[in-house]
């Protein structure tokens, strides 16, 4: 299914639909960022018998190219509310919407949902998360604002961009490094050395490494190194990481994801270097810009890691 890629393309389609019907019309656009859908809606008031008759004769149906459409919904509002069903069919690459059932109503709406290209969404909004906290060590500043309200205003009297995502990349490698005790790192380094050294003449060094390893293992207690590392990786799951972050002001926390430095599909033990914290906000013509703060409770995170090795 092809996707809507720019405002011009969208407005073209809207014009086709809107101009097909006579009556008082109000065009709106609702973008559901979570679903990647743009829902164009037109509310049409046709309370004059003559208009209904003319519409019935000349525009009993409308046609839109099928490829871009995700869903079409027709709803009657007045004199009584009703969802109109069974009035859409596909023919020869086109979607045909039969309007005759809708013309029974004085006020009805047609909603056409389109798949939106990600780039199109990004062309509508300029968003930023501060790359790293520099002034205050735990705060990531978030903002989002409409880039091109004039383009949207041409086609719609109302625009709602719902749950636009802004991602803050939280670099966590340094916190892990700081809170995993040196003896654990040394132990890892010795283990790696022991595995890597396949030189049979290096036996003196190997014995020394083994001795040091036994010494360090005592510090770990009864639990093995791999179990400790597994516990650590559990702290670093995106779901668990959500406990250390929160948002204030116009943004609400959506979810955390592992940073792209690790290939998630591998699904094995991983220590991510960063976490992506995704927050969302709504924008519209009345509130064309939003700002907020994502707070990363690094001290709580530090404590949990260092507690693992106590």
């Amino acid at each position: 299914m092809s996707k809507i890629q720019d405002t011009k393309q969208l407005i073209e389609i809207i014009r086709t639909v809107s101009e097909s019907i006579r009556g008082e019309k109000k065009n709106s656009l609702r973008i559901e960022c979570m679903n990647g859908l743009g829902i164009y809606g037109t509310h049409i008031k046709v309370d004059n018998k003559f208009s209904k008759w003319v519409n019935g004769l000349t525009h009993g149906s409308i046609e839109v190219p099928e490829s871009q459409v995700y869903e079409v919904r027709t709803t009657g509002f007045s004199p009584y509310p009703q969802t109109i069903k069974g009035n859409v069919w596909r023919f020869d690459g086109k979607l045909i919407v039969d309007l005759k059932p809708a013309l029974e109503f004085d006020l009805f709406s047609i909603e056409i949902s389109y798949r939106m290209d990600d780039e199109f969404l990004n062309s509508l909004v300029r968003a930023r998360s501060s790359p790293e906290p520099l002034g205050d060590q735990v705060k990531y500043e978030l903002s989002a604002q409409l880039r091109n309200p004039e383009g949207l205003e041409m086609g719609f009297s109302e625009v709602e961009i719902e749950e636009f995502p802004v991602t803050a990349r939280v670099h966590i490698a340094d916190r892990i490094n700081m809170n995993v005790p040196d003896y654990v790192k040394e132990l890892l380094s010795i283990e790696t050395d022991l595995l890597g050294d396949r030189n049979p003449h290096a036996s003196v060094r190997m014995v020394e490494l083994q001795r040091k390893k036994t010494q360090l293992l005592r510090k770990l207690g009864k639990i093995s190194l791999s179990d400790k590392i597994k516990d650590l990786s559990l702290i670093l799951t995106p779901t668990h990481f959500s406990n250390y972050v929160k948002t204030i002001e116009d943004f609400k926390l959506h979810q955390c994801e592992r940073g792209p430095e690790f290939f998630q599909a591998l699904g094995m033990l991983q220590l991510p270097k960063s976490m992506n914290v995704i927050s969302r906000t709504d924008l519209n013509f009345k509130k064309p810009a939003a700002k907020g703060t994502m707070i990363y409770e690094s001290k709580k995170f530090d404590k949990e890691i260092s507690n693992l090795f106590k």
């Binding site: 930023r128 790359p131 790293e132 903002s143 890892l188 790696t192 290939f263 591998l266 220590l271 810009a289």
Partner: protein
């Protein structure tokens, strides 16, 4: 009236904070009530205005470095984007002043000042030569990070370099085995997914072998996720990676080595080596090490580089992790 406060009841003036030099920074102004006649924007420290949002007319008075905006499509809103430049100053300042001329002739002035950060590498101490032996390196090359931002340190060989720099042979051997398995899988995939042939070809070109398995996965993992929207293909491709890892690489190599690499990469607070496993081979008699160290920030911009030429001495052939030759410290700026 001069108002230095950014937020009043009727006005919300926003300018992004925590700026890394070179970054583009958004600003906006929201107001209640009637639109003003015009708004004049004055920049200092920022490079230029790269985007204006919701302005019907704008003109730049080049002489005075001002941009005058009038008319707004949607009432109560003006937005935009300012560009910044990488400088050699760890913290410099940028200011944006908005002079709002109301229709009744009154003028309201708003101003915001922001710090813009970068980190530069400074070669602090430079030994005449370095002796490499079994024990720790005594006279290290001292590099100071001047600034507060996160840096990733990359090492490049220069033309005059005589010392062999590579990753340890066992890491290389694992990578080669792993990569051979990937190539085999990719060749098979080419038949099943001819439409993705071009992307697959990328994986058949022998990459720079001075990488570990972890680095290879990090580098290509991102590319794969970005470019492969076809989920069935992505699944098939991921399977190749997993198979390559599980078949060719032992459990210790899958877990211990990457973990070790992970910890080794830390050079200082918020400073990382891009390739912490690189080691240097110093033959008996020594060699001249000639390298460049480059610093990248979180936006993948390069701030500066330092060139290092130093003779390394050894009594017998010695291998040493390259990063052990450096002492990295940071000078934080307020």
């Amino acid at each position: 009236m001069v108002c230095s406060n950014e937020h009043t009841e009727d006005i919300d003036f926003f300018l992004g904070e925590d700026i890394i030099q070179g970054e583009n920074i958004p600003f906006y102004l929201l107001w209640k009530g009637a639109d003003p006649k015009e708004i004049t924007l004055e920049l200092s420290g920022f490079k230029s205005i790269v985007e204006l949002h919701n302005a019907i007319k704008s003109r730049t008075v080049v002489k005075e470095g001002k941009t005058v905006v009038s008319g707004f499509y949607v009432p109560g809103y003006l937005g935009g984007l300012l560009s910044t430049e990488i400088t050699n100053i760890p913290i410099n300042y940028g200011s944006l002043t908005l002079n709002i001329l109301e229709k009744n002739g009154s003028i309201k002035s708003l101003n915001a000042i922001r710090k813009m950060y970068t980190t530069r590498l400074d070669l602090k101490e430079f030994p005449e030569d370095i002796s490499i032996g079994d024990s720790k390196v005594e006279n290290k090359i001292s590099i100071e990070l001047k600034g507060n931002t996160t840096v990733f340190l990359g090492i490049e060989e220069m033309e005059k370099n005589e010392c062999e720099i590579d990753i340890p042979s066992e890491v290389k051997a694992i990578f080669i085995k792993f990569y051979e398995s990937i190539q085999k899988g990719v060749n098979e995939l080419k038949e099943d997914f001819p439409e993705h042939q071009e992307t697959l070809e990328l994986f058949l070109v022998i990459p720079d072998t001075k990488v570990s398995v972890t680095q290879f996965i990090e580098k290509y993992g991102e590319k794969i996720k970005e470019s492969f929207k076809d989920e069935i293909f992505l699944d098939a491709f991921s399977t190749i990676f997993i198979t390559a890892l599980f078949e060719q690489v032992g459990i210790e190599d899958r877990i211990l080595k990457p973990l070790n690499e992970y910890f080794e990469s830390n050079a200082d607070d918020k400073a990382y080596f891009l390739n912490p496993l690189l080691q240097i081979r110093v033959p008996a008699g020594g060699c001249l090490m000639a390298i460049k160290i480059k610093a990248n920030d979180l936006l993948k911009q390069e701030s500066n580089e330092v060139e290092i030429k130093v003779p390394l001495k050894a009594n017998e052939e010695t291998y040493k992790p390259l990063k052990d030759l450096f002492l990295i410290t940071r000078n934080i700026y307020e």
